[in-house]
Symmetry: C2
Subunit: 524 residues, 2 copies
């Protein structure tokens, strides 16, 4: 599975880029229209009649540029809906004009610096969301925001984090953070609220109403982002409390709204977000898929990082285990994709049964009891990186089975609602790092995703970052986001009897009805 | 002559005011659109489809207001061109929602606090433009701005001045400067540039190109105005370097663009700015009328203030002088309107002749020589406030005559250009404090303004302040300003032979051709 980044290839966006080179005719006694209005009128011509406003800082910088640039200069614009602000000016072709794309993750924040003139990716980096100090998840942070000064603290943590890492990233490219005029950030609804300093209280309370849906363009310094004084940040809109800008960015980057065929996009995490549709319609839903898929619950679970088991193979005859870890070092733990691989291989080796229970006879030699719960030794003390055995208990397994069953049920429910079968899907896109690592064969084996031809599956990588990048490089992108937002129908997952019946059926491996998974060779 | 303020009468503006009371329906599971978007959608309904954006600070303030206001709240908006920003929210009818009108004078700055909810004027105050410390006039300040840090210093002086006096004014009304959400400022092109921190260098150099024509709406804090965090300031546009926002504000407040009949508007100062037109067309010009009209040149000249002679009567028989001073105290000096009165009375008493020369025989007893120039004792040492005689020299008189001749010539040239006679003017509006004090009879007597029926003359008072007030109270006003700006034809005064001939003819009192001033009884 390869990461789709065809949208950000150098030069692909120059046609409708935010950077425009204009020549300003010198004023005369016959035409002494003010300098600012001369610049605007030139820009309006080159930008298909977009209405241009000029930032105060640019107004102040203009005299120098007009002198040094001899009438020609590069203009950096940013905006939406037929309107753009002139946020920066530079002498013609003086160097890269960087824009910063931000994937505002709850756990990890990823930054990407792109040259808005050429479309080239300059550099990427990532850092732990500093709000993690206050609470590991959305819920904890929202509760913290209810305290006096809590929201301000959370806001300032993330703004400082982005500013500092952004400055480092710029420096690594020989640039200053003051050279960054445009920022685009995509995150879930709660993270977006915390970035803005908007009250997230109602996001987690009935009727789950965000404070704001479409924050649009803001001045960076108004939210404490320390880039150019005139820099603007585009914050992706949300559809609702449980359907955020990260997913809209994902839909944008998946291109599914440009296609005749129906595709599906799944963002897997604690919350599974699912979109199905094509150029004419979009249906979305989100539901708790369980934290097991993030590798966050099992004792041996960890985020993808050095020493994380990402691939497991078990010889069905000898039941010998073989691992592949990130970085090729001794195992430290197991990441989400590794857990799915592990479960699939345990099942194919007959070590867990159709109901997801460890089979004592088949697990012999590796089975112990931990607080009266059976557990499987995956990596022995000697073979692990830290001298502690890595264990996978029946409880971990139950949790994974619930998660995969929930995921499958959500997928089944949304396709059912729009009257489609899984086989009607031309593409099944999986977003996120998770999507880049999981082996679709294993995910199919445990019945987490439908049994479609492997060519249907596509890992899109970091679609939040990709969508944010598109906003920086294509003038049309923000309009597309608005269209996507308006087009999308959000379906509340009704956890009714029908859903529960589907869920119960999906709690088998791969499913109560094995005919749904013809490719899975169930061990006899 | 009365000050026209019919436009700012309480309640006159409630229909299209910037303050709107809206009720926000509570969200439900069926409609959980975000709070901000609920507010916007209500506002768009009450504001004839205006596109509403919400300031970040308002977004943060909303939760509290939504709780205390029980769904109903007052919204403060400000904007143009079908777009407005929601800059403030307050509980329903909680008190005045103040806006600040600013007359950004080169010498004096006048502030007016109005309640944007009711249209009521709360209070006014004024202060010396603190940039006066650096240079008394536009020219000196523009030169100072060329020095390193000079522009920043001038910018910060005026911003601090307005902030401090604005805070005092608010306090005097029992309000905080943080309660001020909307500011409107009108000044000449140079003062506007200095308020923005925009380079004024080219304003005084060929081809006299301003840096910006239409600054529009800015965040107050971006230019150092210390009001509500989200407060916006509307800065009146200019037509060119010598035709500023103060005059556009004047045209707005004069209502001349709403009338079928042709009117004239004159703003008298060092620079005379003249507009003629009606609802279909507007022609404008500006020219140096000479500082004599401001009372700034004669040794006894002063700005209108306590002790300034504002009225002079000379008995044509006894040639005894009678004065009226501002505040009714002993004379300290003479203001611009007093000088005109003085010259007219001297002429009617036969003490100056048709050529504007002191008549020694008629001036007997009051005439002395000062540096070999004849001078008239207007107030003796004993009768003056400071024990020094107030003198009016032949040089002062010459200067006044040149000024009045320039003024009349400018008026004649512009009416001539549009093919009108003075008698075609339905109204002759005089803007500024000067206009409120001069006696049109005296101004006609010396031939400074045309000999029209007295009912034609109207003193409009501080039209900059009035225009700025209209922007705060009427949503349509900014659109009118734009229309005025687009409609206006600016005529460069061509100081050619024809102009010089007219000027020479106007250097007589009242004029070489006395038939032009039938009402003036020329002493034999």
């Amino acid at each position: 599975m390869s990461t789709a980044n065809s949208n950000t290839e150098p030069g692909a966006h120059t046609k409708s880029a935010w950077v425009q080179t204009v020549e300003i005719p010198a004023p005369s006694l016959e035409n002494n229209t003010a300098f600012v209005e001369r610049v605007c009128s030139q820009l309006e011509k080159t930008m298909d009649g977009m209405k241009i406003s000029v930032d105060l800082e640019v107004l102040k910088a203009l005299p120098k540029i007009l002198r040094t640039g001899e009438g020609a200069m590069d203009c950096m614009l940013f905006g939406q809906g037929g309107e753009a602000a002139l946020v920066g000016v530079a002498p013609k072709k003086a160097g890269p004009l960087p824009g910063l794309a931000v994937d505002l993750g709850t756990t990890r924040v990823v930054l990407r610096l792109v040259d808005m003139r050429t479309g080239q990716i300059l550099k990427e980096s990532s850092f732990d969301n500093p709000q993690g100090r206050i609470g590991p998840d959305v819920l904890a942070r929202i509760h913290y925001a209810e305290q006096e000064g809590g929201l301000e603290e959370l806001q300032s943590l993330i703004a400082q984090g982005i500013s500092q890492e952004g400055a480092r990233l710029a420096a690594a490219c020989g640039l200053s953070p003051k050279d960054v005029y445009c920022v685009a950030a995509a995150g879930n609804t709660a993270m977006t609220h915390l970035l803005l300093g908007a009250d997230p209280y109602w996001i987690i309370r009935e009727p789950y109403t965000p404070m704001v849906n479409s924050p649009g363009f803001l001045k960076c310094r108004d939210i404490g982002l320390d880039f150019a004084k005139s820099a603007r940040v585009y914050v992706f809109p949300n559809v609702g409390s449980y359907f955020g800008g990260d997913l809209l960015a994902g839909i944008l980057s998946s291109d599914m709204v440009c296609k005749e065929d129906v595709s599906m996009l799944v963002d897997v995490g604690t919350n599974a977000e699912v979109v199905v549709g094509n150029k004419d319609w979009l249906m979305a839903c989100a539901g708790a898929a369980g934290p097991a898929l993030e590798g966050g619950v099992t004792a041996m679970g960890m985020l993808a990082g050095p020493g994380a088991i990402e691939k497991v193979r078990i010889d069905p005859q000898t039941r010998e285990f073989a691992f592949q870890t990130i970085g090729g070092i001794k195992p430290v733990g197991i990441c989400g994709s590794g857990v799915i691989d592990l479960a699939a291989q345990l099942f194919l080796a007959g070590m867990i049964d159709l109901r997801g229970k460890l089979v004592p006879t088949a697990c012999e030699g590796r089975l112990i009891e931990l607080d009266e719960i059976p557990a499987l030794i995956i990596v022995s003390e000697e073979d692990s990186a830290n001298g502690r055995a890595l264990l996978f208990s029946q409880a971990d397994l139950d949790s994974l089975v619930r998660s995969k069953a929930a995921m499958y049920t959500i997928l089944r429910t949304i396709t059912n609602t729009v009257g489609l079968a899984f086989t009607d899907l031309a593409e099944f896109n999986i977003a996120g790092t998770f999507g880049s690592y999981i082996d679709p064969v294993s995910a199919i084996t445990i019945g987490m995703i439908p049994d479609l031809p492997l060519s249907t599956y596509k890992a899109l990588g970091n679609t939040s970052l990709e969508g944010a990048t598109q906003v920086l490089l294509q003038r049309e992108a923000v309009g597309f986001v608005r269209e996507i937002r308006e087009k999308i129908t959000y379906m509340e997952l009704n956890v009714n009897q029908e859903f529960m019946n589907r869920f119960s059926a999906a709690k088998f491996i791969p499913h109560t009805n094995p005919a749904l998974f013809p490719s899975v060779k169930i061990p006899q």
